[in-house]
Symmetry: C2
Subunit: 232 residues, 2 copies
């Protein structure tokens, strides 16, 4: 049974890693589709989301099968529960990438206007967080996971500044209102992808050390470390 | 062991039901705080979110304990996995209620302007979906769960119309830009609460009949029924 169990776990890991690579690529393509005003690429992202949804169901069924057949305990049980949660986050990231791609198509019907905030910087930071959280998952690397947590404030800060900039542009150029609302939504989608990357990183930490770190306070721009105090 | 197991399951059920009642009350208060411009109530909602976060961790730890100690199979295993996911949804709904309450406080710094869309109708429908999904959970009632799925399109439609209305008001009254952006965000938060209610309803269906219904297409305003075809 142990051999079968380890084989099942390895297969599950491979499926999650392949799903995470697919999700990462989809977010990258969504960002590229905005930058290049590329409707074909946007369509590809929207199509990918359907495959991601099917894989999510597949992974969940595998987890249930492993729980029922092998009744794992300790670190193996924690791994399966973390996979169930990461799976959910990956599926939601796929949805958000599709939402961004839909905005690419909407923006093609509008005149081109520059982003009223630093879209490239926000997209880069979000992609960096997503990649790092998935690297952390792939290598069970706590250091990478903690780096992701430390970066989240930067994306939140850009998102906050973005609101002020968008409102300013809405007042000054109300004739481009559609574009500003699309830009605002894209920023919100990116910020939520960053939040899901944080969830994944927290689950990797939980897998590695069995410690639940979500809802704990984090100091701005500071590498998350063991000395951090719980929020109670 | 069976007696202990059933006792643990009953205790877990009670904890989840008490969490869900708390979350439902919090969303209701968040909506009331907007309607009454009540900063004290908004503060209460934000404070509640911290308690909800703590209970979420508690419930997850209980699930892990039950999985490790009793190694449930079949319907019991499905129940625990569904609780793990519903727990996540409840925690996210608590966050969104807190986000709405933060907007109440922001709106107090602005002149009072009427909502540019039917806020009361959207709030009522969202609260109805949340209540029904939690009733479905409490009574393991598939009919209630299916009613929730059939209602989701209505909230999505209000949310879509809302964008057009908000953009119109932004063009016509740019001097109230802050208010319009707050209104837009509140509508998005309500729509996401409705999405989480749908997730909960889908998990209740999954608990009752072991069938994963998410990502399946639903016909607009039609009671979800068994004849629906999978999205593949």
């Amino acid at each position: 049974m142990t051999i079968h169990f380890h084989r099942e776990i390895e297969l599950l890991k491979k499926k999650v890693l392949s799903l995470s690579a697919r999700v990462e690529e989809t977010v990258y393509q969504a960002v590229q589709s905005i930058d290049k005003r590329d409707a074909v690429l946007a369509g590809k992202v929207i199509h990918s989301d359907m495959d991601i949804n099917k894989t999510e169901i597949d992974v969940e069924e595998d987890c249930l099968k492993i729980l029922a057949l092998y009744k794992p305990v300790a670190v193996d049980l924690r791994f399966i529960v973390a996979v169930l949660k990461i799976n959910y986050d990956l599926e939601r990231i796929g949805d958000l990438a599709a939402n961004i791609a839909e905005r690419t198509i909407d923006l093609l019907n509008c005149q081109r206007t520059p982003f009223p905030y630093n879209f490239n910087s926000m997209a880069e930071k979000t992609l960096w967080m997503l990649q790092k959280s998935l690297d952390a998952l792939m290598n069970m690397d706590m250091q990478s996971a903690k780096l992701v947590l430390s970066k989240d404030d930067e994306v939140d800060e850009i998102n906050r500044d973005m609101y002020d900039e968008v409102k300013k542009h809405m007042r000054e150029h109300p004739e481009s209102m559609d574009q500003w609302v699309h830009h605002l939504c894209i920023s919100r989608h990116l910020e939520r992808i960053a939040d899901h990357a944080v969830n994944i990183a927290e689950d990797v930490i939980y897998m590695c050390e069995g410690k639940i770190v979500r809802h704990e306070p984090r100091e701005k721009n500071q590498i998350y470390d063991e000395s951090i105090r719980a929020d109670k």
